[in-house]
Symmetry: C2
Subunit: 282 residues, 2 copies
């Protein structure tokens, strides 16, 4: 008999980035966390089979596997890599495989521009084409792809998918159990259409991720994510809209932040749980 | 008799930021530039009356005055300051007064967060209310307010207006000669709806500003603007859409960039003119 209600808090592994998979699983157990979001490279470092066992032994749900995607180049190798990511997500029984679709072909995050394509509509079309191949493959393995719109400041180098509306348009041709969307507060809070699009996303929300948007942004804008309450986001309307759209799954805290990464992971986990309880829910 | 076709290239003064108004006017004459976008603080430093004379003597058009706005706090002093900006735009016979509407109340660009409001819809509502006061005032003086949607990365600290669609919604209750919009390639290039919204903006485009979006972004994201061709933007579809929407006014080159500001302004002006001729138009 379980005395308490299920906790929906999930630790995205990169919030406590110094921890290996084994350490993060231990941390979750120690802090009474029931779900974890895993990253492929850390799973590979731990070993896929061992990760499956660690997670099962700890009784954790895997709220997501990060990440597939990077589909804009049209490179067939990218499809192969995504098939492997889908296989891994199936092994881990992850609630979804997060898809960061990729930026303009040739643009490498953090590097000076070399030969690139500036054809944004074509890059988006490559994503739609790849999805038509990958969605059935995922469906056959019981894996749900979760399209993640990224903040428009990452349009060139990480994701040509910038709004929830766009993600839903892209998901629409596919069954909801094959292709869903991620609502990540950091990426969507600014969008004047966000509440309307969250409502439209009913049945398609595969993951709800929370963290704050810092102001001013740090020098590396990738690390502009903060603990909830330390930035500019009003979480309540977003969390309510996600609930009203019928999403009742785990809620991942995913924070990329140099100070958070430098701190003691146990302290960080305690801090984000407290902030989560105050600003997000139980 | 003018032998050549009118040139639509306009130098936004902050592209050659080291130049005073007098120096920028001289530079325009020297380089055969017919139009200039001015900034209020530089005009004040030169003197409004003297600026009017300098510009008239040089035969320059003033394609915009930057900038009014910062209306989200609901502070009545902000309205007074905007009335002064409108008066100045009238004196200068500027084609428009660019409006950067302001971020979340209390958020100061570049400063750590103190007491702020996180109520984004309320901040947007303050802008609509202020516009209802300022638009008729501008109309009486023959000044057109130009609402500028800023890239979503500035939503917290500079403009709660993030998309062209939102700017058009905000402009809609007002006559087009009182309230128009700015299309700035840097701010809108990522938007999946941008071409559709530019078409919708027919009759409302008060200014077309061009510069590139750099990748990676520099440490201060405000300075992520580059000379056309040095970043990720495909200019042709945007320029064609703006033309198809009927805009035939000046096209301002506005570049905030530490390297550009450090270089010799004459060289910069020659370089942006050449890049403009190649990527934008005559």
């Amino acid at each position: 008999m379980r005395a308490r209600a299920k906790s929906r808090f999930s630790l995205n592994q990169w919030t406590t980035r110094r921890w290996s998979v084994a350490e993060a699983v231990d941390g979750c157990v120690r802090h009474g966390v029931e779900a974890i979001g895993l990253w492929r490279q850390d799973v590979a470092a731990q070993g896929l089979k061992e990760t499956v066992e660690l997670v099962a032994d700890a009784g954790l749900r895997v709220s997501s596997l990060c990440r597939g995607g990077f589909l804009t180049s049209g490179d067939p190798q990218a499809l192969d890599d995504n098939r492997r990511a889908i296989d891994e997500a199936a092994e881990l029984d992850a609630a979804c495989l997060v898809m960061v679709v990729g930026g303009l072909p040739g643009v490498v995050p953090g590097r000076p521009l070399g030969a690139i394509s500036r054809d944004l509509p074509a890059a988006r079309e490559r994503v739609a084409e790849a999805l038509a191949v990958l969605a059935p493959y995922a469906g056959e393995r019981g894996v749900r792809l979760a399209l993640e719109p990224l903040h428009p400041m990452y349009c060139a180098d990480r994701a040509v998918l910038s709004t929830l509306g766009q993600a839903l348009d892209l998901a629409e041709p596919h069954p909801p159990e094959q292709v869903g969307v991620v609502v990540d507060t950091f990426h969507v809070w600014w969008d004047p259409d966000v509440l309307e699009q969250i409502a439209r996303a009913a049945g398609r929300i595969a993951s709800y991720q929370v963290c704050d948007f810092l102001s001013p942004l740090p020098a590396d804008v990738l690390l502009g994510r903060g603990v909830m309450g330390e930035g500019v986001i009003d979480f309540a309307p977003l969390t309510e809209a996600v609930a009203a759209a019928g999403y009742s799954g785990d809620i991942e805290v995913e924070i990329f932040n140099a100070d958070v990464w430098a701190a003691d992971p146990d302290e960080i986990l305690a801090r984000v749980r407290s902030s989560f309880a105050e600003l997000i829910g139980e």
